[in-house]
Structure formats: structure tokens, C-alpha cells
Symmetry: C3
Amino acid sequence: MMKSVATLGSHCALQLLKGANDEKLNTILICEKRRERLYKRFNFIDKIILVDSFNEILKKEYSKKLDNSILIPHGTLISQLSSNEIESINIPIFGNKWILRWESDRIKKEKLLKKANIPTPKRILTPSQICKLSIIKRDGAAGGAGYFLASNEMEYKKKLSNLINKKTINKNDKLYIQEYISGVLVYLQYFYSPTKNELEFLGIDQRHESNIDGLSRIPASNQNKINKELTFNVIGNSPMVLRESLLDEVYSIGERFIEASKKLVNPGIIGPFCIEGVYDSNANFTAFEFSARIVAGTNVYINGSPYSALLYNENMSMGRRIAKEIRESISNDNLSKIIS
Amino acid sequence: MMKSVATLGSHCALQLLKGANDEKLNTILICEKRRERLYKRFNFIDKIILVDSFNEILKKEYSKKLDNSILIPHGTLISQLSSNEIESINIPIFGNKWILRWESDRIKKEKLLKKANIPTPKRILTPSQICKLSIIKRDGAAGGAGYFLASNEMEYKKKLSNLINKKTINKNDKLYIQEYISGVLVYLQYFYSPTKNELEFLGIDQRHESNIDGLSRIPASNQNKINKELTFNVIGNSPMVLRESLLDEVYSIGERFIEASKKLVNPGIIGPFCIEGVYDSNANFTAFEFSARIVAGTNVYINGSPYSALLYNENMSMGRRIAKEIRESISNDNLSKIIS
Amino acid sequence: MMKSVATLGSHCALQLLKGANDEKLNTILICEKRRERLYKRFNFIDKIILVDSFNEILKKEYSKKLDNSILIPHGTLISQLSSNEIESINIPIFGNKWILRWESDRIKKEKLLKKANIPTPKRILTPSQICKLSIIKRDGAAGGAGYFLASNEMEYKKKLSNLINKKTINKNDKLYIQEYISGVLVYLQYFYSPTKNELEFLGIDQRHESNIDGLSRIPASNQNKINKELTFNVIGNSPMVLRESLLDEVYSIGERFIEASKKLVNPGIIGPFCIEGVYDSNANFTAFEFSARIVAGTNVYINGSPYSALLYNENMSMGRRIAKEIRESISNDNLSKIIS
């Protein structure tokens, strides 16, 4: 009988395993040797399996070591393994593992957002077409490192060559240019329970990125040198709530995402997901990304969020919500509905 | 016997009704039909009364439908109904409904702050007198949309005409020009219990406004186009605590506000209010606004705040604090002291 | 028998005494008369000792008044008393009082960080050597008031003379010039228990400083006047979490700090400390300060933090953690290990 949850030691592992422990599930951490000292500090982790590198979990022996376990995917799984590798994992994965490919591929990502009728920034096809402030991104979940801004082709070329020189970007990296929309950035954290067919909105976070965050403390007249090196490396997150009048649309966006995912990636999204976007000066929302699994920004709410407090009388983190779904599915004998 | 609380479905309705439910009061939501789907998700709402538009509550039949209820006013009531309309509502209103007029009218607002001896930014009487950075605001609680910055008359005219073209501002809107004070913005959340004659300081929030918040992530050299369209549309809020050495003055500001309100708008402020201002580089406080009712920034603390934890052993949101006051006033038979 | 904790009325006194009360210790506040009204509001303070000024605690009579008490030091003790005075206090002090001198003296501070092998910003020895963006700081824990930025000697001289004219800086103040590193600023909050030889990472906060924080909301083209008056006066704090992949290094930094402190300031750090620094665009950490006692940023977590929730099932503020250490040391009869 399934009764353990396992996850990779990074990203939101502490939240996930603490939540699983709160829900009385066994907890297993797949941990790089160099990180063992960190994770040994936490007594809600029942078992640590040491690996040299995370792709060891692809080996056959691991499906045995992780017998009776469900693997919770997060950003580290996606950044360390290819979509093909993830799909070939022999351990039951919480959620729909096929949708992770749609997160990693920018063209698929845009397709899913469009199918959900969620506005996205205009895509700019070549550097020569940059005519207003744009953001340039690499493929994959690299946490924003190497992203940069440019207002025209010349600035694009200058900054790109600087980032290639500094080896932040590889000459062969696939780049993706989006219109930059300025406003309030939000990371909308959802949980969809396919067993109850219910969507829950559990929280919002803001991201802190280096060194773009530091720009705000440098007077215009001193920005010269800094400007050349601006990038968006995610360092942390902080909490936020949204104007209540925007909440109905937030739920609607989430529901459209669920519907679109059911059409494009059977059986559709399961469990946590995140829509990442910006509210412009007219309070209109544009999504520039989604994550089809738990995001690290939920770590802000290990204690519960203002929104989870409206739904639960306990401190319900996203990690605990996942564990609760697993525990209840085991009880109700419909675990197959939430794993892949 | 009064035992239900009712409120309009927006702004901080979820917090208010969750808090009332925690205090074992019945909860009623007056809800626009288009928002029914949102509010039906929350099981702490006992009854939803659907309306086409919020001003229906002015109709006689509603005083019957809301028999035995107390209406909690919030920002949506103020932005959707005129002061005259609010004062004519036939349902008992929590707090002093006459003071809401003082919030809506900028001249009255300035008068009350001055009476309380709370420093306010210098008012600038005509655009030609703008000689340093100033902020231009419209009347009413429009959540900051259409506010703009200007350093001189020319910039004022240029930006105003741009905002009129975009229909963010109406040609006939009354505008109010204030000296702009730069520093750390704070929204100080108070609760005054007239039955106990006690002031409680329950939290501080920061506001996130679009697209002014986005400015901080745009290098000076790329700001050209964005600059023309900067405004202050409130999107959300996040938590904050204040240097403890500033706390004594924070309480003193609150007490002076209570005293001034008693002199100017009998019987004075009742329940929640908020003083909104800025700490400059010398840590001196200047108030640019107040709200004479619960503010949406309290949604940050649905779980309780660091300051409420100093006063209560339960998670005490502002919404729950209001409900507690009502429940205790019912028990002690002095409800008349807290409604109008 | 020791069973009371005492502290000065400012900085984080409310958190400290609330935490002590939660741990069933008696609480004593040493309070300036002008602040009595504030602190009388909180019923977890068992006794208030009024003073005209905090240095009265150096008088002999106070060692009697505070019989059976342990004094918890915080930033106000350090800013109001000299290192010599602090070391001469006749009341048992929680932690290692000799290390406070290492916090106050910038040369000693740099030495301890270097001993711990924690990267620090390059020190710039004379204004003429300023060749890129630098920050200029005064000695002591003045909360950032009078700090300023300069990119070259001319800018340094201009801004300094402006701040001297405004009396924010004294002509004789010792100034310290550091390379300015732009990125995400973090204040890492640790607790070290010497009785258990265990390090706990309990939270991270961000600081809000005036008027540098206000800069982010002023377009480049309007910054002229503001720029001259930028400084870093701490007004408040807000919560944050860190990318989990950075957490192992965070613990390692804390452990190296503990080891270095044991070598340089016998018996080393005891209880709370804070490493204050910045993550640059490569997510590399540089520490620009440390505090060898509880920091005010812990006030963000009076309710507990996401990190304390991983370690404790109760809401564990830093103040409560200190009280817990004292209570347990009293029980185990090894109080001498945690006081000086």
C-alpha cells in the first residue's frame, strides 16, 4: 500500500515533507550527498536516500527503494531532468507528469495559456523587431538567471554579448523575446482536486530576484555600470494578498487553465499549479508563465496563508494540501486519479 | 435581537464574514450576481442576497431582508454610494456612518487630520504653483487609479491630457494637488472600542500599486515610455512591522484622531480606522489620507498579525475584532454605542 | 533563583517579554518615563521600572532592583551605552556581552567576518579611491541614518557636506566606505544554543529604510532633488523566505560565524545573532554587517516564521526561543553557560 511521499532535496522539499508528516504519511528525501547535513536537521524527515546526482532516480533500483512511495515533483526535478527522463521515471508521480513538458517548452506553454484564454505578452519573433521594452528569456526553469531587458536591437546585442562573455548565457541557448509589461507582479498559487472537482486558491507571493531587485535602491544617475549586468536570478519570495475585487477573475483564470489542460494533456492538471503574471495600470492581468506543479513561492506559507485560512481551520500549506489529497485518496481507494 | 452581520461582496467581505463566523454570529453577504460564483465557495457565509447593483440596498425591502442585521461598511460601500445615500441607509451600520463623509471629501479630510494635529503634506492650490515633486489625486476612494506625479506645471498638463485621452481621468474630475513626500509608506490599522474606551493598534500593511510598482524594475535609461503612463491603481497588499521606537507615536496619532473625530463628527470614530502616510528620512510621519472604516490592507492579517498576537491569544483579524465588539455589545446590551 | 527576564523598553521589547511570558517567566521592562503609556498597554509585562534615561541601569541600585533577573540585550542597549558601559553592567546578561563590542567597532566586525570566512564587501580606504558605487556608513548601530551612496570623490564630498549641513552627520563622525553590492538584501536570523550545541535558522526579513525605499517610486526624470537627500533610516521590516537551494550555505555561514566567535571572543556567540548581506546576480552572498544579539527584524515573526514552523509545533518567535533557552537552563542548572 502506498503510504510514503518522496521528493528531491531542494526547492520546497521541507514544506512538502513537513506537510506530509502533519498528515501522518511517511516521508522520504532523495538527497544529494553534499546536502545531507542540511536535511538531517529536520526531524519530520523519516528517511534520507543519498544520491550523487538526482538523475540516479532513473535507475531501476530506485523503483524498488521507493516502493510504496509517491514522488512529488517540483522545480528541481524539471531543471535537473529532461521531459523524456521525467516521463520515464518508474515511481508513481503525484499529478500529471505529462504536463511538465508543457511547462518546459515555451511554445507549448504559450499554446496552453492561449487555449485557456489567458492573455499573454506579445511574442517578438526576432531581435530586429524589438521596438519597445522587452524581456529576453531562456528555455527551461532556470529561475530567471540570464533573463534580460532590452528596448531595441542594439541594446539586445550589447547585453547578450555581455551575458555570453560572463557565461551566464550559452551561445547556443534558445532565447525567447516577450513584450515587457510593467506593473504589479503576482504568482497565483492554486490547488485543483480532481477527486472533488474543486479548485482552491491558496495564496500569492512576490519574487525577489537579483540583481534586478537592487536596481530600485540606485539613483538614476548612478545606474550606469549596474544596468549592463541586470538579471533576474530568483533568491526568495515574500507574501502578498490581492484586492478582493480581482479574486473572482483569479478563480476564473484557474478554472480555464484546468479546462484547457484537460483538453490538451489528458487527464489535465492535478494538484498544485501557479499562474505567473502582472497586473497593469488598468488592473488587467497578463500571464507570462505557468508552473504545472508546486512552486517555491509556496514556502512563504508553510504556516498557512490568509487564503488557506478562509478554507481550512488548520495551517494548510500547499505541501500539506498535497499530502491531504494523497491521504484521502488512499482512504477512498482512488489514488489512481491523482498519480501518473 | 441583532445577531447577523452583513456586508457587500467585495473589498474585505471574506475577512469580515470569516471573522463573524469565528465569533459565532450569522453572516450575510450582499452580492452582485456576477460575483455569486466566487462567494459560494466559502462555507462561513450563511446567506447570500443577490443584487444587480449595490445601491439596491437603499430600497425599503432591504431593511426587511436585513432585519436583525448590522451592516459593516467598507471601501466598496463608499465608492459605490454617495455620502447622502450611505447616511440614508435604513439598516443599522457598524461604526459612525457620518464620518464616512469626512473620508470622501478631501477638504473635510484635511480638516480632521489638522484638528488631530497630524502633519499632512502641503496642499498646492493651482498647477502653476507646482515647484517640486507633487502628486495629483482625484476625489473619492477610487483606489489610486488616475493619481499621477508631476514636478512642474508643464509635466502636470502633459500627463493630465494623456490620462484624459486614455479616459483614466474625466475632464470634470475634481483634482487635488499635494506635495509628494518620499520615504517608507505605511498604512496604520487601528481599532477603537468606545465601550471600553480603548485603542488597539493591530497591524501595518504596504500597498502594491500598478504600474508605479513596476517602475522599480526598469532602468532609468529604459523608462521613457513607461513614465507617461504611471499611475497608482491598488492591486494588493503585503505585511510589515514598524521600528518599535515609533510605536508610541503611532498610538498617540491614533488617540489624537479619536479625540478630533469626537469633536467634529459626534460621537466620533467607532471601530476600525486607518491612517495612511509616509516616514521621511528623519523618521518623521506625515499622513496623506485616512480611512474611517476597515481597510482592505487588513486582508493581509486574516490569520492575525504580529501586533494582534501581542493583544490576543487567538488569531485576531480586524474582521474578527469587529465581530467580537458586536458580540460583546449584544451581551452587555450596549449595541447602541457602536452602531449608527 | 533567576526567574525574571528584563529588557529595555524599545527595539524588540514587546516580542521579548511576550515570549518570556509564553514560557512562564516573569517579565520586567526598564522603561523611559516618556514611553510608559505605550508599554502599560500590554498585559504580559509584569513590572515596569521607570527611568529617565537608560544609562541609569549602570547605577548600583539597579543590580538590586533587578535581583534574580537576566537582562536581554538588544540594539537599543548598544546604541545608548558604550561597550565599556555594557561590559560593566552588574546584572547577568543573556548571551556573551563581550561580543557586543565586536558588533559596534567596524574594524573588529570585519575581522570576525573574515575569520568566519564570510565574504565581505571591499573596504575603500579613502574617498579618493572611490571608483564605483560605494556606500558610506557611520560607526555604531544608528539604524542606517546618515548612510549615503557615492560613485566618486566629488559626489562623496557634495553629499557629505549636505548631510553635515542638515546635521544628520557630525563633522567628527568616523566614516567607513564599502563597495556597494547590488542585489537582494537579506537579514538572516539565527539562534545558537550552546547547551545543545545546535544552530537554528529561524527567519529572514527585509528592511524598509527611508528615504531610499521611496526612490523606487520616483521616475528617473524626477529624481533630481530627492537624490541629494537619500539615506537609509530604518523604519520597519517585512517577511521573506529564501530559495531552498541557498539554505545549506545559510547554515554553513552561521556555523562558521559560531566557530570564529569562539576563537575570537570566548566563549563565543550565545543565543540570537543576525548576518546581514546581499545575494548578487550569481546568487553569491556577501555579508556587510552582523548583529551579535537579537535584531528588530525578528518582530516580523512574533507569530512564528515559516522556518520556525519546521522546527517547532508552537509559534516560536526569537524572543520566545530565548526565553525557552533560559527556562530550560534554569531547569537543567546550567544557566552559567548562557549568561555573562
